[in-house]
Symmetry: C2
Subunit: 332 residues, 2 copies
């Protein structure tokens, strides 16, 4: 039986979607895990249906690390829900933590309090992107590793490969270095160096371009956190922009409106295919235990899926795989 | 009367769409310009309808700089169509050059043979992106300036502002620094330095995120050519991916297919709104004359629009504006 610590208070919408997500996960899980729910019991307890109470223990805590605070202050806030949730993992009371709170705080607390996998200099946040055939690719880092050295990008490649293989179950995941062209000569000084470092890995396929993320030609896309954040937000911007343009154009024509009604199920399916909530949260890879970082605006579906991600993660030997692969493929 | 030099042979599809685009532009222009068409007359002349022949002079040339060659070899290929087209501008026989050939070669030849505007260290390629309300924003650099210093990003901001104001006619265009968060503290060491340099410009609004490109909150988005290329290709990937997912889902249901037929005009309008061809080519900004770089796969519409872009460009004082603004806003 696994135990997952969940920060019940950190999300943008308070404890409601978090508790509902936990209950939804328990409903579907056939009792594979227990939850340590960190938050204010007066706001949480009454939301838990009786039959699930035995799987959930509330860890009393009412200080929330707010989204406006600076991640650098997180270490001092020992009474906050995110700090306490991470301590539960550090103390061995839980195997994983799921949080929709301040992602910078979660990342730095997990890195500093739980500690890094041997050989990892910077843990990375990975995110799944949908492809045009309904598949997916893993992009990392999309987190706070802004100014990266080639060595960090090399590590992201190794960690992404391990996550794709061990947790997502992709056979021989292909690693690509995100660049401004497929040719080896393309890239920044740093990505070109990282390209050389990753070349020793049998699954490295060389440079890939932004469009390759969506065409099933690569499984693990390596970039620094600056580029990763921009590509993530750009993708969200394009998708939301297309959806707004369709809605705006539909309003101008009654026949198009009828058409849109007939296509309702297609749009619903499309939304499901490109909706981040369906993918749950983003794993922080390279930390000794499992940390899943959810979007602040996560709904109950996203939280449910994040909990399942955490369960898949801890049922694998991913961290051992990362440690061994780093030794095996790192240049001297 | 303006004169535009056009590389007739450099595109992926040979002279056909180029010549058709030139004719289309002449048809719509009410004789505002002449064209010097650089290419092999035996492949070009018969495609020009008689009534337009007086506006087009063919400059005989049959060596094409191929897409597989390295831009660094372009200077040696003095008999190539792109070299000759750029020489026509350098010699003052034409005021602008339009090319769908090798973009790196075009960029380096224009920079080296025509020369840079005073104060510009690196010319940049700018591209227009559609926004959710049918507006547009200008992103630069999307070209070959991969490893940039803060000073280069500062110049891109000034050049983009001049293009948006003078050529696109945007009143008080807002300049934003593309970053991984809106806060001033976000960014790489280099974007943070560039942020400080641009602060003196009254139109600088600070950091913007990837999603802001599409929500009308900024007019000129500054980034290096590595990030610019990735965001461009990512946007194309998302748009094409959504279109494929819609098509795939439609096929599974007869009612959705009927719906799609009723929505045909909406999809057509959407395609027009997000189609790069509607925007023509990408201006190379910071070179003494006007250079418009078109997509290798440009159709006749894209070529027509690129020619109109060139005409708008040369009818303004953009290069004087850039030169003066660089002096005015550059820190000592």
């Amino acid at each position: 039986m696994h135990t997952i610590a969940v920060d019940a208070m950190g999300g943008d919408f308070g404890p409601q979607p978090i508790v509902e997500g936990v209950v939804l996960a328990l409903k579907k899980s056939k009792q594979k895990f227990n939850v340590l729910l960190v938050g204010k019991s007066s706001e949480i307890a009454y939301k838990i249906p009786k039959k699930f109470q035995k799987f959930i223990e509330i860890i009393e805590c009412d200080d929330v690390f707010s989204m406006n605070e600076s991640a650098t202050d997180a270490l001092k806030r020992k009474e906050s829900t995110i700090y306490k949730a991470i301590e539960l993992v550090r103390e061995g009371r839980a195997e994983a933590v799921v949080s929709a709170g301040h992602s910078g705080a979660t990342m730095s607390l997990a890195t500093l309090r739980i500690g890094r996998v041997k050989g990892v200099s910077r843990p990375a946040i990975a995110t799944l992107m949908p492809t045009a055939t309904g598949g997916r690719s893993l992009v990392l880092d999309v987190g706070a590793n802004v100014d990266c050295k080639s060595e960090h990008l090399f590590e992201f490649g190794i960690m992404g490969h391990a996550y794709a293989k061990d947790v997502l179950g992709v056979e021989n995941p292909r690693i690509g270095m995100l660049s401004n062209g497929e040719e080896k000569s393309k890239g920044t000084e740093i990505t070109k160096e990282a390209h050389e470092l990753l070349k020793v890995h049998p699954s490295f396929i060389g440079n890939v371009e932004g469009s390759d993320i969506f065409n099933d030609s690569v499984d693990v896309v390596v970039c620094d956190g600056f580029v990763g954040n921009i590509l993530l937000k750009t993708s969200e911007g394009v998708a939301s922009s297309i959806s707004k343009l369709i809605k705006m154009n539909i309003k101008r024509s009654p026949s198009a409106l009828t058409g849109a009604l007939l296509m309702r199920r297609v749009f619903k399916l499309l939304k499901k295919q490109i909706d981040y909530a369906e993918y749950g949260g983003a794993p922080l890879i390279g930390v000794k235990d499992c940390t899943i970082i959810c979007h602040g605006k996560s709904n109950k579906i996203a939280i449910k899926n994040a909990i399942f991600q955490a369960v898949s993660f801890i049922e694998t030997d991913i961290n051992k795989d990362i440690e061994e692969s780093l030794v095996k493929y790192r240049s001297n």
